[in-house]
């Protein structure tokens, strides 16, 4: 499957999905003007990948690394990140390997709390990593 890349703007994150390397990265600030339009394109791509993988019976080959390196996200983005995680959870439930790295700045960073809540709700542990 072809890779998926969108450059960041001041208010929307860079998205990089490399299906060969099995890497998903979301980096920057996430409060896009139209949160639905921005994230639906990502979900669509993921859904196609997941359907294809299941069809090929290739779940065992899945060893995906997810990296969320966000400096700010609004509540609408939180919701979409939840939907993205839910898609990966689907693969996880079928015994795929998924690793989630969640970056934050300092202990009073809201991003840390957002990450903890998402991890709890989706019931998948995150590697919470403090930026240097």
């Amino acid at each position: 499957m072809k890779n998926f890349y969108i450059e960041s703007t001041e208010y929307s994150p860079r998205i990089n999905i490399d299906f060969q390397q099995q890497k998903f990265e979301l980096t920057g600030v996430s409060r896009p003007e139209n949160v639905i339009a921005f994230y639906e394109s990502i979900i669509l791509k993921l859904d196609r990948f997941i359907d294809e993988t299941i069809e090929r019976g290739a779940i065992d080959d899945i060893n995906f690394s997810l990296k969320f390196d966000l400096r700010y996200m609004n509540s609408g983005s939180s919701k979409y990140i939840m939907i993205i995680l839910d898609r990966f959870r689907k693969l996880l439930d079928k015994n795929a390997k998924i690793k989630i790295d969640w970056y934050y700045n300092d202990l009073d960073d809201q991003i840390l709390e957002d990450g903890e809540i998402l991890s709890e709700v989706i019931r998948v542990p995150f590697n919470l990593i403090q930026r240097n």
């Binding site: 949160v35 639905i36 609004n74 509540s75 919701k79 009073d108 809540i117």
Partner: protein, 180 residues
């Protein structure tokens, strides 16, 4: 019309004003305002966690405004399209974020109910509600995720107040004040 928006705007401008706006609420405006506020906050506030908190709350409240403003019919008023007010002020140690917009009076009851419910919840209960909405509620037609107000309450320990002023038989003016 006895309702006077100028008077109301002036009433809302108490404390040391860092930013006050009244007019059309557009996506572009929000982007510009956030840029201005970020610069301004960097000048007036030392503590980075306070800055971040104000910024977060401002984003959520501006997006709330953007998604929930009802336009007055032309016949009633020559208001800007998608009219809203927002103010950032300092009041002693506290920072205040105030917003105002027109809504249809028929929505007032439901909104009051939602506010009162959210205001009555403890920190833990707010977190619980946040988790629930995060996981269960769909996006509204206007593009709201339903988390904005809960998020604000969670960050401010429920220090939110609201007020409705009747404009005419169909419309009310909704004011919200958040203390950070």
């Amino acid at each position: 019309m006895s309702f006077n928006i100028e008077k109301l705007f002036n009433e809302m401008k108490t404390g040391e004003i860092l930013l006050a706006y009244k007019g059309s609420i557009t996506a572009e405006l929000i982007t510009n305002v956030l840029g201005v506020v970020e610069t301004k906050l960097n000048h007036v506030i030392e503590k980075s966690s306070t800055k971040k908190k104000i910024y977060n709350i401002l984003v959520e409240s501006l997006q709330n405004l953007y998604h929930h403003v009802d336009d007055l019919p032309d016949s009633l008023n020559n208001m800007d399209v998608h009219f809203g007010i927002f103010i950032v002020a300092r009041d002693g140690e506290d920072y205040n974020i105030r917003t105002g917009n027109f809504i249809k009076t028929e929505k007032v009851g439901k909104l009051k109910e939602r506010f009162d419910k959210i205001k009555s919840l403890s920190k833990e209960e707010l977190k619980e509600l946040y988790r629930f909405v995060l996981n269960n509620q769909m996006f509204s037609e206007k593009g709201g995720g339903g988390l904005g107000l809960i998020d604000i309450a969670k960050r401010t320990d429920g220090r939110i107040s609201y007020q409705f002023d009747k404009c005419d038989s169909d419309y009310s003016f909704f004011r919200m004040a958040i203390i950070v």
